[in-house]
C-alpha cells in the first residue's frame, strides 16, 4: 500500500495525463448526436446572441445582393403560381379531387453563423422550436441543398452543413435516374464527390445532379450541383467530382422543409411482422 502511494506520487504527472487523455478521447469518440445536441443547446443561446449582433452589420453590407436574389426568387415563384392557376381551372372546379394532398411545407429562416473551413462545418439559424423547427428538417437555399437540421434550442437551431464529412446525401442523375451518394471530401467548399454510380452509365461534364427523394428528409429533385470531372474507381463505380450549386460562403436566407408523411413512411419501413 505504502509502495503504491509512493508510486502514484512519483508518477502522478504521467498517471494524471493518461486519465485525462483517456476521458477526453472517450468523450470524443462516444458522444452521439443526441447528447451533443443537448450540450450544444446550452451554449447556443449565448452564441446566437453574439452572432446576431455581428450579423446586423454584415447583413447591411450585403443588402443589394440579397435584394437581387429575392427579386429573382419572386419572379420564379410568380411563374409557378400562374401555372397553378391554369391547372386549377381544369382540375379543381370540374372534379372534386382528393388525391393531391400536401406532403411538404416550407418555412424560411436566416443564417446567423456559418463556417466553410473546418472538416465538420455547422450553420446556425435564427429560428428554434418555438418557431416550429425540428431536428432532421431539410434545409435548402434558392440555389440548392444546404444541409439537415441537427440541434434545436428555444430560438436558434444548428444545421449540419453539406460541408461536413459526416453527412451523406442520396443523389441521382437528373437525366436517367441512376442514384448514388454525395458527400464532401473536406477540401474545397465549392466541390463535393458523388460515389456509387455504376460505370456503364453514360455521363458527361455539366450533367445535373439532384436529390433522389429516397430518404424521408429531402423531397425529390432539389438541385445539388453539376458534374465537373469523373473517373472510374475500384472497377465498378465512378468517382464523380461535383460543383455544388449552393455557394456556402454567401448564405443568408434559407428554407426549411418539413415532410408531413415522414412518420408514416418511417413506421412502414421499420415494420417487420412476426412470422
Amino acid at each position: 500500500m505504502k509502495n503504491l502511494i509512493r508510486f502514484i506520487l512519483r508518477f502522478h504527472f504521467v498517471i494524471l495525463f493518461i486519465i485525462i487523455e483517456f476521458v477526453s478521447l472517450s468523450v470524443a469518440f462516444q458522444f452521439n448526436n443526441y447528447q451533443k445536441a443537448k450540450v450544444v443547446k446550452i451554449i447556443q443561446n449565448i452564441k446566437g446572441f453574439h452572432h446576431a449582433k455581428i450579423l446586423s452589420i454584415t447583413e447591411y453590407l450585403k443588402l443589394r445582393e440579397t435584394n437581387e436574389k429575392l427579386a429573382f426568387e419572386n419572379v420564379r415563384l410568380n411563374n409557378i403560381l400562374q401555372q397553378a392557376y391554369r391547372s386549377d381551372e381544369i382540375f379543381f372546379y370540374k372534379k372534386e379531387d382528393t388525391i393531391f394532398k400536401q406532403q411538404y411545407y416550407l418555412t424560411t429562416a436566416k443564417v446567423i453563423n456559418n463556417s466553410v473551413n473546418k472538416q465538420h462545418n455547422f450553420i446556425t439559424l435564427n429560428k428554434g422550436f418555438e418557431q416550429g423547427v425540428k431536428p432532421e428538417m431539410a434545409v435548402i437555399s434558392p440555389d440548392g441543398v444546404v444541409g439537415i437540421v441537427f440541434g434545436v434550442s428555444k430560438r436558434y437551431s444548428t444545421v449540419i452543413s453539406l460541408l461536413n464529412t459526416n453527412l451523406k446525401i442520396s443523389a441521382k442523375l437528373k437525366k436517367d435516374d441512376y442514384f448514388g451518394s454525395l458527400e464532401w471530401d473536406g477540401k474545397d467548399y465549392r466541390n463535393a464527390v458523388l460515389n456509387e454510380i455504376p460505370y456503364h452509365v453514360n455521363i458527361r461534364r455539366g450533367d445535373t445532379i439532384i436529390t433522389s427523394g429516397y430518404s424521408t428528409i429531402f423531397p425529390e429533385g432539389v438541385l445539388l450541383g453539376y458534374i465537373d470531372d469523373f473517373q472510374v474507381e475500384g472497377g465498378n463505380f465512378y468517382k464523380i467530382k461535383v460543383i455544388l450549386s449552393t455557394d456556402f460562403k454567401n448564405l443568408t436566407y434559407i428554407s426549411l422543409i418539413s415532410n408531413l408523411h415522414k412518420q408514416e413512411q418511417f413506421k412502414l419501413e421499420n415494420f417487420f411482422p412476426d412470422d
Binding site: L16, F17, I20, E21, Q119, D188
Partner: protein, 168 residues
C-alpha cells in the same frame, strides 16, 4: 501568488473568447485554421505544478470544445501539449538553465529560444488535433499540409502577440 493565479485565469478566459468569437469567424480557407488559444499553455509560469498544468490545459480545451461543438477534441489536444511542455522546456533550456522570477516569454529568453519552444509545442498540438479530427489516413498528405499551414499561422500570431503586449 494570488495575483499570478488571477492573471493566468484572466488570460485563459481572454484567449478562449478571442479564439471562438474572433479567430473562428475569420475563415480564410480549409487549409488555414489558426488556433492561438494554445498561447495559454506556452505562457503558464515555470513553477506551475504538473497536475495544475494538466488540469488547466483540460479546462482550456474543454471551453473551446463547448463553443466549437467538438466534444473532447480540443481538450485532448491541449492536454497532450501540456504533457509535452516539461520535456520541451528541458530540451530547449538555455545553458544557464531557467532563472527564478522569470516567465517563459520572448522578452526574457529571446527570440531564438521562444521560436524553438513555440514551434515544437504548437506543431505537436496541431498534429494531434487535425489527425484526431479527420481520424483516417485516406488523405494523409492533405491533412499534413493543413497542419503545416495552420501551424505557421498560429506561430506567427503568437509571436506577433508577444511583441505587441510585452514590449521592453
Amino acid at each position: 501568488m494570488i495575483n499570478l493565479v488571477l492573471r493566468n485565469s484572466a488570460r485563459l478566459i481572454f484567449l478562449v473568447l478571442f479564439q471562438v468569437l474572433i479567430l473562428d469567424n475569420i475563415q480564410i480557407s480549409v487549409y488555414i485554421n489558426p488556433f492561438m488559444y494554445v498561447l495559454f499553455i506556452l505562457l503558464i509560469p515555470f513553477e506551475t505544478p504538473g497536475w495544475l498544468l494538466l488540469v488547466s490545459a483540460f479546462l482550456l480545451g474543454f471551453s473551446v470544445d463547448l463553443f466549437e461543438h467538438t466534444p473532447g477534441l480540443h481538450s485532448s489536444a491541449s492536454v497532450f501539449m501540456a504533457f509535452l511542455r516539461p520535456v520541451v522546456l528541458k530540451i530547449t533550456s538555455p545553458r544557464e538553465g531557467y532563472e527564478p522570477n522569470t516567465y517563459p516569454r520572448l522578452s526574457y529568453y529571446g527570440f531564438r529560444w521562444f521560436l524553438n519552444y513555440t514551434v515544437i509545442l504548437v506543431f505537436a498540438h496541431h498534429l494531434f488535433l487535425f489527425y484526431l479530427e479527420v481520424f483516417s489516413i485516406t488523405n494523409f498528405f492533405g491533412t499534413l499540409l493543413r497542419i503545416i499551414l495552420s501551424s505557421v499561422f498560429s506561430i506567427v500570431l503568437i509571436i506577433l502577440s508577444q511583441y505587441l503586449i510585452y514590449k521592453k
